[in-house]
Symmetry: C2
Subunit: 387 residues, 2 copies
């Protein structure tokens, strides 16, 4: 186990109808609110009205940043920053899924920075402060509700990059499983793949002697696998939605990487695909992750054997380690296919035109990943195997 620091001050408020507590949770931070949301589904569902009602009860002055895209754009973030400055915003409230939350975090950091918020993604500047943020989550996937990370896309340059800081942890996040009832099946599927991929990035590591972290990771995977299918079958299954939502939070709230050298290469590769093609993050991961697994498993076959046995219940009797490991990878692909996720870039009508550029961008600062360090050629090969 490596040395590590664990710090996560987000208050999670979990349960049916918890939006009722919104006013009480926002009030300590001020009354001038920027409300960040997406394409309008929260208006259809009635959540927008509920949020406005609760904010009205504390006499809040609400400005709006609507229309945050699935891969949230720098231009939208900049719009939010302008509003914050012009209206002396005191608190940023994100209501939506991961992209809305990520956009709100970038807005909150950019509003107090005397420069271009993109600087944070290219490490030209470090976040020193941010407006306080709160979230009402409507989709199990991102983990953004309980961490200090954000991913935004510069649509002009087709670059998708991350920023992170302890200053952009949400002060609170409201998680009501009922708010995810209306998530369409395909988005539920993308969320499931996203959550599982977050776990993979922290589970497939060369770090040894981390039994608790491994079992925690397997716990999240098993919970998602079991409850994901239930939630797809019946979107209003409260327990399935609740278990999926909680698993999504724990996949990325700092519980799994304690003392572990994590990887994140596959996320890096996927970001290059969705920066160019604007596909859902979960769909890209469903295509690439099993191909990453096949490309790297020989670096530490034992870990993939453990994964196959503990997560997928592969019976090791009469099989070589190699066969067990491959069976686990096949089970992953089969599960993704069973729930309706894509298996090839071709299914999304993506050809080989930009693979070279994606591989270039993904490795622009050098090889990526830690389970196996991937050069540009490695990335290109994984992308070709994903066609």
């Amino acid at each position: 186990m490596n040395a590590f620091e664990l710090y996560n001050p987000t208050k999670l408020v979990f349960g049916a109808n918890m939006v009722e507590r919104l006013g009480e949770l926002v009030e300590p931070y001020g009354k001038r609110i920027l409300l960040v949301y997406g394409g309008g589904s929260i208006k259809k569902s009635g959540l927008f009205d509920d949020v406005m009602f609760q904010l009205g009860r504390i006499g809040a002055v609400v400005h709006e940043l609507p229309g945050v895209e699935p891969n949230p754009r720098l231009s939208t973030v900049n719009k939010g920053i302008e509003i914050c400055r012009a209206e002396n915003i005191e608190f940023v409230l994100a209501v939506g899924g991961g992209s809305v939350l990520d956009a709100a975090k970038a807005v909150a950091a950019g509003a107090l920075y005397d420069g271009d918020v993109w600087d944070f993604t290219i490490r030209k500047a470090v976040i020193q402060e941010a407006l306080p943020i709160g979230t009402v989550l409507t989709l199990a996937a991102t983990g953004s509700e309980m961490n200090g990370n954000s991913v935004i896309t510069n649509w002009e340059t087709k670059q998708k990059r991350g920023l992170g800081s302890k200053h952009i942890y949400p002060r609170f996040s409201i998680l009501d499983p009922k708010l995810t009832y209306t998530v369409p099946a395909n988005q539920t599927v993308n969320g499931i793949v996203d959550i599982m991929s977050h776990v993979f990035e922290q589970y497939f590591t060369l770090t040894t002697d981390i039994p608790l972290q491994e079992r925690f990771a397997e716990s999240v995977l098993l919970t998602v696998i079991e409850n994901g299918e239930k939630a797809i079958k019946d979107g209003t299954d409260y327990d399935a939605r609740a278990n999926l939502l909680l698993a999504g939070t724990y996949a990325l709230n700092g519980t799994l990487p304690n003392g572990v050298t994590t990887d994140w290469a596959t996320h890096g590769i996927e970001h290059e695909v969705s920066a160019i093609y604007d596909i859902p993050h979960g769909a890209g991961l469903a295509i690439i992750f099993p191909n990453w697994m096949k490309y790297v498993y020989q670096e530490r076959v034992g870990k993939f054997v453990q994964y196959a046995v503990r997560v997928w219940g592969i019976d090791p009797a009469g099989k070589t380690d190699e066969e067990i490991a491959l069976a686990g990878i096949e089970a992953t692909r089969a599960y993704f296919t069973r729930i309706g996720a894509p298996a090839t870039l071709g299914e999304l009508e993506i050809g080989d035109e930009h693979l070279e550029r994606m591989a270039d961008e993904a490795t622009q600062f050098g090889p990526i990943g830690s389970f196996k360090q991937l050069t540009k050629d490695d990335v290109l090969q994984i992308l070709r195997n994903s066609l």
Copy 2:
């Protein structure tokens, strides 16, 4: 799953030699420090000198509260409160195991309260504020390093009671597995039992549809079972000590009870035993917990079946649920015995003289527990079965 709130702002700093970071961690809170510690083992080990050196580097003024007892006493806590008031203490630093941390928390809360700190334990008053606290942990067991709870004993009235508040979460806790190398085997054993018991109190619940919380709990148990024996065999096995330490923290840092109705009856019963006999908490729990299990398992046999199969690897083939459940309970007892924990009160020379009083005290506010609500007669029976 029930509704819940999760909030844990303690910063965990985990790894070898992390005491080097003490000055930097303390400095934001002030320089007038109360250093709380136990019977002097930190002087023998050299940790005391290391701590004083680090505090010296930031020019801290250090006052001392030494001699905190294994079941920390109200009288000692009151001594600490007096020092805080007389010396305008700004920060309370606990260096030791659970009892030292618990005493420090009570001191920190009491110092800013204009009344008797015992009021907090009998719910005559609620903690409104506390001096900031930091800890350097020397024993895997308590969980106190990352939660807002404390247990102290009024030796005059022979009462052991808890207090809790968000205000007494440590601001930071330093966990260096090497600091636990010198913990004697019997204390390592008590710590193992303590950690496992914390999990039991949150795992054996009537709440259903909590797969993630159940698997997390099983993860902690499996980690403790595997690494506990290694740590007893070789006290300087870094990975065993590290895994045990991290498991101890996760057993009681708010990860396991999310949305779960917890029990805590066995802790209540044990507190009454150790309030009178001043035995180690872990020893009392090793005796009582398997007897509690046998007394209550029929309330929900399925949960005990799951426990037996997943944690102890009991083969269910050809057995009734009842037999599987009992085999899991027997495996628990056998493990405690294998690592050298006591199985009966008699082994600690405790007879039946005060059982009636213990049962009375344990149930003074009504029946205790939730898996099965225990009346005075139930508690008395469990204690008799423990003789």
